[in-house]
């Protein structure tokens, strides 16, 4: 009963967002402030605004949320009430971020999203990896959010206002501007899982797949991109911040693409790929040009469609097969059953992967090319950052094509070389040599789940054309060649039945282990030290005082002889002594 109410409320609320976006479309930009309090010289309160960016993001959030809510009706059967309630709360928080004109309203939405993400990752709280992944996600983003909060202080106090529309970079001291934007960038890096705070996103994958589609692909992690686009004037005014952003983005996109190329679980590949694609958006933003911002937002929209689609497809695999690990999927693929049993999923996932890889004609191709084009133009203007971005995005495009092809072939096609053997992934699972699983009952998911896939698949093609076709043929040709260079090695390896994974990539460069040794272990030691310190040092003083009190009282007990003469003598001596003392002080 309660679950039904929340299901209806969830779908209804996300449809409402779509409706609001449609109604606001074309409206002139406006702001509205409410519930403000004056504190000293600054005002703390709330404000909302509407403009093109708001409408665009509201539409994205609304559509993806609707797809996810409907998909979840078929996907999720246990604890549905809390699940749908949290997804709805999350959607509301994201909407708050999008419409916020007050930095505090933005912060509220920003952190409530983080809390919802935490609660939804740990939806399957009986699983160990879900519990630890959730805690990790929350703590890493929370750490970044401290920087974000300080960034708000620096900018807000520096500009004398916490209203986004009133922040004017020309009015702010350049040093303050750079400090403030760099601190905001810390929050953005945490939320969007960029280097060096990237490790939480792949570990967030034990959450339900629709949640990964909504939160960890389409909306929350893209909130960082939105934020920089929202405050673009402020960010662009600080060259230092933009350079830092470019370096972070370029390192992240290559790092994450390499990790994705070695991951052996569909959702983990997709998670690293999300990190990498977000970095492409940041790279576009870091150009500091109008075209860069446009390209970043274009890529945000297409990415929301095709990556949401891919995560939902992975969800179908999890739901129908029971696992999204390569080694398990291979067992179903040995006879080529997976492709035939799940035709809709196969087709839509193929479209999603093609869009992600940047195959010409699909949405990802156009949006990635607009990033390349913006970088190309910027580089021509003599900018080092432009070249840097251009080369990194080009390399990443090749790697992306490689891991997309690898994923597609290994999941859906039997390997000619190994004639159906599990092959390259058996080391991951000692059970791999078991009999073929019973595939006769394997069938595609219900239409409740497939309908959102079809809708998003259409989006993953059509969204490429909404921006109008204006291709730079040189860039388009070059990027196509890069894609082919990425695809060919994947095909060649697969046809030989090999999947070499360097240890360094498999361990994701050892970052996780280093963080554990550098941060988690010392904090544990400090916490032990603190408990012991309270018990044995601070507590010891208190106990010592107590004990000396007890000793003193024993001493005084000796004096209490009950002999009146002793008391009287002591009293007289005392009075005399006091009189002498008083005389001495007075003189």
């Amino acid at each position: 009963m309660i679950a039904t109410v929340w299901r209806v409320a969830g779908v209804g609320f996300s449809l409402l967002l779509v409706l609001i976006a449609a109604l606001l479309y074309g409206d002139s930009a406006s702001q509205h402030a409410f519930l403000n309090s004056q504190i000293g010289e600054v005002t703390i309160g709330f404000a909302v605004r509407t403009d093109d960016l708001t409408v665009l993001l509201l539409a994205v959030v609304g559509v993806v949320a609707t797809c996810v809510q409907i998909y979840s009706l078929g996907y999720l059967h246990e604890r549905a009430a809390s699940y749908h309630a949290l997804v709805t709360l999350f959607t509301a928080a994201m909407a708050a971020v999008v419409v916020a004109d007050s930095l505090f309203l933005l912060l509220i939405g920003w952190e409530v999203m983080g809390a919802c993400s935490y609660l939804l990752i740990s939806h399957y709280w009986e699983r160990r990896e879900a519990r630890s992944g959730a805690v990790k996600a929350f703590l890493m983003t929370r750490l970044a959010d401290v920087g974000f909060l300080f960034g708000i202080f620096v900018l807000g106090v520096g500009a004398g206002t916490f209203r986004i529309s009133a922040l004017d970079p020309a009015q702010i001291d350049p040093g303050v501007l750079t400090t403030g934007t760099l601190l905001l960038l810390v929050g953005v890096v945490g939320k969007s899982a960029q280097v060096p705070l990237q490790t939480w996103l792949p570990d967030a994958m034990p959450g339900p797949s629709p949640v990964s589609a909504l939160i960890h692909a389409a909306t929350m992690v893209a909130a960082g991109v939105f934020l920089i686009a929202r405050l673009y004037d402020v960010f662009a005014a600080s060259a230092t911040t933009m350079t830092v952003l470019a370096i972070v983005a370029c390192v992240t996109m290559l790092y994450a693409a390499l990790c994705a190329a070695a991951a052996v679980e569909v959702k983990r590949v997709l998670a690293w790929s999300t990190v990498s694609q977000l970095a492409i958006m940041f790279a576009a933003l870091s150009l500091g040009t109008h075209e860069g911002r446009h390209a970043a937002l274009f890529h945000l929209v297409t990415h929301a469609a095709f990556k949401g689609l891919l995560f939902l497809c992975a969800g179908v695999l999890l739901h129908q097969v029971g696992s999204a690990a390569f080694v398990v999927l291979r067992r179903y693929t040995r006879r080529g059953r997976l492709r035939k049993a799940l035709p809709v999923t196969f087709v839509t996932m193929t479209i999603g992967l093609a869009a992600l890889a940047g195959v010409p004609g699909f949405a990802g191709f156009f949006s990635k090319d607009s990033v390349l084009e913006a970088a190309w133009e910027h580089a021509h203007g003599g900018s080092v950052v432009g070249w840097f971005v251009l080369v990194s995005v080009g390399l990443t495009a090749g790697l992306t094509a490689f891991y997309c092809m690898r994923l597609w072939l290994w999941v859906f096609f039997r390997t000619p070389a190994l004639a159906g053997a599990v092959g390259a992934f058996e080391a991951d699972d000692p059970m791999a040599d078991l009999e073929d699983p019973d595939t006769s009952k394997l069938k595609d998911a219900s239409w409740l789940m497939l309908a959102p896939l079809v809708l998003l698949a259409l989006g993953a093609i059509a969204l490429g054309y909404v921006d109008g076709l204006h291709l730079n043929w040189v860039v388009a040709l070059a990027s196509t060649v890069v894609v082919i260079f990425g695809v060919l090695p994947a095909y060649s390896l697969w046809s030989r039945g090999a999947d070499p994974r360097p240890v360094l990539l498999e361990r994701e460069f050892g970052v996780d282990r280093a963080y554990h040794a550098l941060f988690v272990v010392p904090v544990r030691w400090l916490s032990k030290l603190s408990v012991l310190g309270d018990r044995d040092v601070v507590g010891a003083y208190v106990r010592a005082v107590g004990r000396s009190g007890a000793l003193a009282s024993q001493g005084f007990r000796l004096l209490q002889t009950g002999n009146v003469q002793t008391y009287l003598t002591a009293a007289v001596v005392g009075v005399v002594a006091l009189a002498v003392l008083a005389g001495v002080i007075a003189s």
């Binding site: 004056q38 519990r131 300080f150 603190s530």
Partner: protein, 519 residues
């Protein structure tokens, strides 16, 4: 403008809510034992409900107290020097110049309402859920005496009166821990009660010495006079007085390293005792700092503020680290108070409008949220007959879904999630530390701000650890106990106001912040 007639009414209400709990407690003790035992909780609920209504009547949109500026800055033109209302001012001990001077303003009223609310909820909770030992008549009577004492301290405008009310509270609290405390650990609860009472008495003795020094300098105990013509000069006797008062109140706050009485006292106290102790009694210390130390000894406060801020910052970090190592749910929540009160101390130490308002806001928010947390911890403890994390076991989401969900909610609120009450106080404190009063060293406070910011991450870490250890886990390994009853009706009724206020203050902080408009 408050008319005279109106103010007479307010004065009457204030005197009534001061006298009613004491008289009611005496009447309860006068009742025959059996009748008293049976009716005690209901009687307490009615009396404290009346006090709550009375305290709400005092809530008028008044102006702030007076400008909390350091040095001899004058008030802005048009600002009232004495926006007190409900004032009663009669001689009490004429030979010492001590007067019975009470009154309320926008700083004390929210705290008085919080006190009345928590006492009322504790009495309502006791209608159904009582400590195993029984003796409800005395428990309710002692709660009412505490309520009167705390309201007295929050409305006292005379240093000696403040001190007396401050002391009145101690003995009943001591008895509550000693008699109704943890019934599995009699020596432990006696030790906890003794440590509590001895350390607090020691603190208030220092505070009284400070008051005497103030009296020597200024010739009066009257807070209104002292605030309007404060004891200037940051050296010598005023500095000594400020130190004594600050250390004395710091025991109560409690500020690291004087916090050692707190974990034991909270962990061993019965549920209602913990709620009152954390929700109300700790606020006496921070209230004293704001009401007495800052306005009466402004120059000396500037001298000691960086040290106060430093100890508060250490409290935030050390308290959070200690929480990470706790194995007992009530002790963990108790230690979390050390960190949260550290934020309040830091806010006061900034001496800036944002920091002060943050401290005041965090005072109220901490009372509400930690009250809720202790109610929840008590509920979990009652159901499992232990508060040890390992013995309770995991997977409360499966065994007690509603209580576990509420615990998660309260943890999120307590770790300062924006959108819930815990956030605004800490945010304003950090903002205050970013931009402290001009007379303070800014670089020092920036360091405090960064450390306190990291403290919020540690806070999140230990609350998530609590949720993970207690709520999540494999239900197969931790099957439901025989007496695992989920949320009962009385619990729902008692906790609903706290949950509502947590959300309401989170989305509309202006509700309180407006109160301190001209502060």
């Amino acid at each position: 403008m408050i008319t005279v007639a109106n103010d007479d009414f307010a004065a009457g209400v204030l005197l009534a809510i001061l006298a009613l709990p004491v008289l009611a407690a005496l009447a309860l003790w006068a009742l025959p034992v059996q009748l008293g035992e049976r009716l005690a909780a209901l009687y307490g609920a009615v009396v404290s409900g009346l006090v709550l209504v009375g305290s709400l009547l005092l809530w008028t949109p008044a102006n702030g107290w007076i400008a909390y500026v350091s040095g001899g800055e004058t008030l802005a033109p048009g600002e009232q020097v004495k926006p007190l209302h409900g004032v009663t001012d009669v001689p009490w001990i004429p030979s010492l110049g001590v007067r019975f001077h009470v009154g309320v303003d926008s700083i004390s009223v929210p705290l008085i309402v919080l006190t009345a609310l928590l006492t009322f909820l504790c009495c309502v909770y006791s209608l159904k859920i009582t400590p195993r030992i029984g003796r409800m008549r005395s428990l309710v009577a002692l709660l009412l005496v505490i309520e009167a004492g705390v309201i007295g301290a929050f409305s006292a405008m005379d240093l000696v009166l403040f001190f007396v009310c401050f002391e009145i509270v101690l003995i009943p609290m001591w008895l509550i821990i000693d008699i109704w405390g943890d019934d599995h650990d009699a020596p432990g609860r006696k030790r906890a009660a003794t440590t509590f009472v001895l350390m607090t008495v020691f603190g208030s003795a220092l505070m009284l010495l400070g008051f005497l020094l103030v009296f020597r300098q200024a010739g009066t105990f009257d807070l209104v006079q002292l605030t309007n013509s404060p004891v200037l000069d940051g050296h010598g006797v005023p500095l000594a007085a400020a130190l004594l008062i600050a250390v004395g109140l710091a025991v109560k706050v409690p500020l690291w390293p004087l916090h050692i009485w707190l974990p034991d006292a909270h962990a061993k106290a019965p549920t209602v005792g913990s709620v009152i102790l954390a929700g109300v009694l700790l606020k006496l210390g921070t209230y004293g700092l704001i009401r007495i130390l800052v306005p009466v000894l402004p120059d000396a406060t500037v001298t000691i503020a960086p040290y106060l801020g430093g100890f508060s910052t250490v409290a935030i970090i050390a308290g959070s680290l200690a929480c990470l190592g706790q194995t007992d749910v009530k002790r963990l929540i108790a230690y979390s108070s050390v960190g949260h009160m550290g934020f309040i101390g830091l806010g006061i130490a900034t001496l800036s409008p944002a920091g002060m308002k943050g401290a005041l806001f965090a005072n109220i928010a901490h009372g509400i949220i930690t009250g809720l947390l202790f109610f929840l911890a008590g509920a979990i403890k009652d159901r499992h007959d232990t508060s040890d994390l390992a013995t309770i076991g995991r997977a409360l989401y499966a065994r007690l879904p509603r209580i576990a969900a509420l615990l998660t909610f309260a943890c999120l609120a307590s770790l300062g999630l924006p959108g819930l009450a815990g956030f605004w106080g800490e945010m304003l404190v950090l903002l205050g530390a970013y931009d402290p009063a001009d007379s303070l060293p800014r670089a020092t406070y920036l360091v405090f701000m960064v450390l306190a910011g990291l403290g919020t991450v540690l806070t999140a870490a230990y609350f998530l650890r609590l949720v993970r250890k207690l709520c999540q886990g494999d239900p197969a390994e931790h099957p439901a106990g025989a007496f695992a009853v989920d949320l009962s009706r009385i619990e729902l009724i008692t906790w609903t106001p706290l949950i509502t206020l947590t959300v309401l203050l989170g989305v509309w902080p202006g509700l309180l912040l407006h109160q301190w408009g001209s502060l």
